[in-house]
Symmetry: C2
Subunit: 215 residues, 2 copies
DNA sequence: TGTACATCAGTGAACGCGCGTTCACTGATGTAC
DNA sequence: TGTACATCAGTGAACGCGCGTTCACTGATGTAC
């Protein structure tokens, strides 16, 4: 198949896209290079024409996951002008998302793998910061505490998906997705209501219960 | 060293305790049987006198993690009579916990590994239910929604630890542990305050913002 | 436009290594007399 | 209490397999004339 730049780029892209999916599904250690190459329509030997090592693939594939997630988030934000947080919670905390880790949130699927893999750990903080900013922009309430609340909300969301996947369709336990959806939404709502109450009373105790700075 | 029942049990226990720690630190795929046996003061060949397969070890070691966690939770609940949730949040969302996955929460460290491993998936739901009950008993507010809120709180807690570990000591991002601590606590507090407000006004709209049943 | 050559993406066999697992053996312990 | 035997936890060499990686090779494509 020669060596046209276009063809190579297409192969590279196919490998990455397969890897991004499979790593999220089975973890960094759950997929072999040979598997990935076969699924990308190539043979395993060609791998090193694209990546210097498996570790390099981990880094690029992780970046690809986050790029995909950012695009998805942008799309869903545009589609749901105004009620951003509700829309996000609804699609993120859905059983479709739970059932399809391969095209789902890389934080939920890979945060632990990333924390265990030196090469990928470097890259996580900046992309996570982007998500925090996005979610923060959907919040109301005091500007300074938005990043902190956004971060907490993302933790709850990703944790809920990861735990829901481990629970499978057990009936022993409350539906963690619905429960987390309601918890986050009612926390945001209660926050808003409380501020209204406080304002009416002229009280300036708002924010009690927060003891540590969250930035 | 012969075959006294006592000695064998002690070995079995040592293997499990090493495994429970190392699996939480490095994941199910991150530790070899030989490593574990060496660290338990044995040689790899003896492994199969204790477990029929590696998978069987995964199951037993996971169970051991959860047993340890349950004991730890009980101890911390007894130590902090009354202000249960605050005490729990403070110790769980600490940087000591973040830095020491080996003796930390198995949900935060292993939920994803468990969801990817058929053998261990079976065992997760019942133990998770226990934690939900424990946390639910620390909440106030409407009895029916406590399990749901407890589940959501656990998701946020476990997610925060997992994400904090992936972030390392990056400064790009709000401190997710403190942020999650504050978010959960203020959600609980706001909830209580709101109910007080509503009661004063005789309003019965309490719980608006919750749209789906969470049990 | 056509021809000769260089490039290099892709192939598939091969290598070495680590892993889970097996096995023949050892020797301390428990049991029977 | 002392002796003979059976048991079996633990040992360490060995096996087979899958994996990441290397390498000599191929043949389609790009380039130079």
């Amino acid at each position: 198949m020669g060596h046209s730049k276009r063809a190579k780029d297409a192969s590279h892209d196919r490998i990455l896209s397969v890897a991004a999916r499979r790593f999220r599904e089975r973890g960094f250690d759950g997929v072999s290079i040979a598997d990935l190459m076969t699924e990308a329509g190539l043979t395993h030997g060609g791998f090193y024409k694209h990546f210097p090592s498996r570790d390099a693939l981990l880094v690029e594939a992780t970046a690809r996951c986050f790029r995909d997630a950012r695009l998805g988030l942008t799309r869903s934000m545009e589609k749901a002008r105004g009620r951003g947080l509700e829309a996000l919670l609804e699609s993120y905390l859905s059983s479709e998302h739970e059932k399809d880790p391969g095209s789902g949130c890389p934080v939920a699927a890979l945060a632990v793998d990333i924390s265990r893999t030196a090469a990928t750990r470097q890259t996580f903080a900046p992309v996570f910061a982007v998500y925090v900013d996005r979610v923060a922009s959907m919040l109301d309430g005091p500007e300074e505490t938005r990043p902190g609340r956004a971060a907490a909300i993302i933790c709850a969301m990703a944790g809920a998906i990861a735990i829901a996947r481990a629970l499978g369709d057990s009936r022993v336990v409350p539906n963690v997705l619905a429960a987390t959806h309601d918890f986050i939404l009612s926390a945001a709502t209660a926050d808003r209501k409380l501020r209204m109450h406080d304002r009416h009373k002229g009280s300036r105790r708002g924010g009690s219960g927060r003891r540590r700075a969250s930035a």
